[in-house]
């Protein structure tokens, strides 16, 4: 089950904490990966660490023309086909709504929502033609529940969910599924440095009593990418230790 041998995948934000965990999980199931990210050195380092015949396709997701070129580049680098697209890259520019600058709003919407749209639009073509495709976007619990200081981020993630449902309906008859994975609070460099009291308060809200790990998200992505998940589309799989049951 969930064997991805012979399948190809593009993962954006692949050198980041979550992205690298997703990439590792897909590679472990046998997929050949095109790893994308904006930091070329980090990306290359991760690619050589991962081993295998994976390729790196650097891209700055705030550059619309570069985003439009990414799917054709990845298809070529992967030997002419793209089975799985994982939209993982995202940025935050947190601020209270009253203080939020236009640029902070625009940057988050541009990278998180618009680039995701551009990548889905470009990937839909070859996937439709191949009569197979898996589009998986990493959203966030915040897109469903909101979070103070993250109006832009929450909007971008909720936007991806709505967009995915629309595209899922368009492409379902061609065996292309479109789903989201919504992480809850994850273990990260950011949560590692939280003061103990704050950490305890945070964990108190999570029935599982622990923060999520990259592997938890990787496993969810592997499932949705698999042939076995072909009848699942337009869904958001929440991976959050029970923190929000939606």
């Amino acid at each position: 089950m969930f064997d991805l041998t012979g399948m190809t995948a593009l993962v954006t934000g692949a050198s980041g904490g979550l992205g690298s965990a997703v990439a590792k999980a897909l590679a472990a199931q046998g997929a050949k990966l095109a790893l994308s990210g904006s930091n070329i050195d980090k990306l290359e380092a991760f690619r050589s660490q991962l081993g295998g015949d994976h390729v790196a396709v650097p891209c700055n997701l705030s550059d619309a023309a570069a985003v439009d070129a990414l799917i054709p580049q990845a298809v070529e680098a992967l030997g002419g086909k793209l089975d799985i697209l994982v939209n993982n890259a995202g940025v935050t520019r947190d601020n209270l709504t009253m203080r939020m600058k236009d640029e902070e709003w625009d940057q988050v919407i541009s990278v998180n929502l618009e680039a995701t749209f551009r990548l889905i639009r470009a990937a839909a073509k070859p996937m439709m033609k191949a009569r197979f495709g898996r589009i998986i976007s990493i959203t966030s619990i915040v897109g469903a529940t909101g979070n103070p200081g993250q109006a832009n981020y929450a909007a971008s993630k909720a936007g991806i969910v709505g967009m995915s449902k629309a595209v899922a309906q368009e492409l379902a008859s061609r065996n292309v599924t479109v789903n989201c994975v919504a992480p809850g609070f994850m273990r990260s460099a950011m949560t590692d440095v939280l003061p103990e009291a704050q950490k305890a308060a945070l964990l108190g809200k999570i029935p599982a009593g622990d923060l999520g790990k990259g592997e938890d998200i990787g496993a969810a992505v592997v499932y949705l990418a698999s042939k076995e998940a072909g009848y699942v589309t337009g869904q958001t799989l929440h991976v959050n230790g029970g923190m929000a049951m939606l």
Binding site: M128, K129, E170, L171
Partner: protein, 78 residues
Amino acid sequence: MSETADRVKKIVVEHLGVEADKVTEDASFIDDLGADSLDIVELVMAFEEEFGVEIPDDAAEKITTVKDAITYIDENKA
């Protein structure tokens, strides 16, 4: 019948799974041949590939019948 017409009709038959005699030049993809909007997108992609032409979105929107497709391709192919 022109060579373009033959090849266009062949693609339509293959993609839409309709019988060849239904694919007349006046046939509308949607009204007569049962295509949906996604089928049209796929047909346009197939035409582009077969004939090496670029069919921009605004031109593709005007291609509603078999004849429209043949005419556009004949006028624009290299």
